[in-house]
Amino acid sequence: MTWDYFISILIPMLEGSKMTILLFLIAIVLSIPLGFLLTLAVKSSFKTLSWLAQIYIYVMRGTPLLLQLLIICFGLPMIPGIGQYLVLDRFVAACLGFVLNYAAYFAEIFRGGLLAIDKGQYEAAKVLGLNKWQTMTRIVVPQMFRIALPSLANESVTLVKDTALLYAVAVPELLHFAQTAVNRDFTIMPFFVAGAIYLVMTLLLTLFFKWIERRYTFE
């Protein structure tokens, strides 16, 4: 095992990590707000909307993400009639799948956060003359976010690892290059390198969330 060999497999894998990181960022940035909207929909007094949101969350959490990705990448184009318009770029399709799926998980996390907020908080805000919007943005959401942080951190680490599912829809990412090198060179080394790269990513993410948690501790 030479240093040169190590560098020669590391470069394409780091290149592949870009896809992994890009997917992670897109998924997290879009699914958190979408998840919050879903939470609001679930809590809505408009019953049909609430029902639809609950069914959506149930379906998304109750089926494998891999299945959802396969449906979006390979299933949608097969729908008679409209299928030809549903052929998406693989990476775009994967992003869509991740956002739709993770939004459901984040919605559940936020819902838990909302449930943990005492009804006295709403009452105090109301008596102080805050309207619904002010109560939500100034009182409820900051507390909900703080309560949800540890779970958000957990889910984000899972998301990093789930990016490996890109492999299944043939988007070249970290794992893809590892597998290629293993097949080509008959060595286990690339798998360990891949593992190490994932560990570095999850470590950085964990440190980041620990930092936010410390910043938003109100004690």
């Binding site: 008596v127 003359g129 009182i139 507390q143 004690e219």
Partner: protein
Amino acid sequence: MAIIEISKLKKSFGSLDVLKQITFDVNKNDVVAVIGPSGSGKSTMLRSLVHLETIEGGSISVDGDYLVKDGVYPKQQDIKQITSKMGMVFQHFNLFPHLTVKENLEVAPRLLKRESLAVISKRSDELLEKIGLANFSNTHPAKLSGGQKQRVAIARALMLNPEILLFDEPTSALDPELTGEVLQVMKDLAEEHMTMIVVTHEMGFAKEVANRVVFMDNGEIVESGSPTEFFENPQFDRTKAFLRRNLK
């Protein structure tokens, strides 16, 4: 001069009639102590004054304006305008845990935008001084004792210059040794002629500070009068029985 007029208030939760024809007036500068057994409807009555409960029948007027008339509420804007004359202090403080003490005081006036930030900041400093917590302005509520929290909650209510302050068992969640500091702040307010309605189990406070005591039982006002009349010469058996149980 009556500042609050409550007449024939009715409220039920399902089949449970919690308020049955509650009628009483509060005069300006009154300190009214509302006492009565658990479940008698004291909190519900108090909460209906600030529209935390919606009543089904009867009327409430504040300063001559109807918050609700014969069970019918005016439009949202009017309700808000009328309830804004009252501040409320809760048993469990309900401070905002993510905000500092000073932010807790300032959040509402800042959002209501009726005054400049400088005026708001000056008043919050003065109030913190007054309740003896000037050194705690940048502290989060979690670091405070129960008594300190309740004093902050009182200051927060005062930030909006209410004409009337409502208290729902302000000392019931406190360790006995901490009730004194909160009662002292309330006593000071009474001396400044703040109009107050205080639901309380503190018979001492009712005797010493209140100028009127209202006894509720089972959704009705059984008896009301000056503390002297009430405690020394109660008229009704239910009152006598309650006092026997609670005065020792």
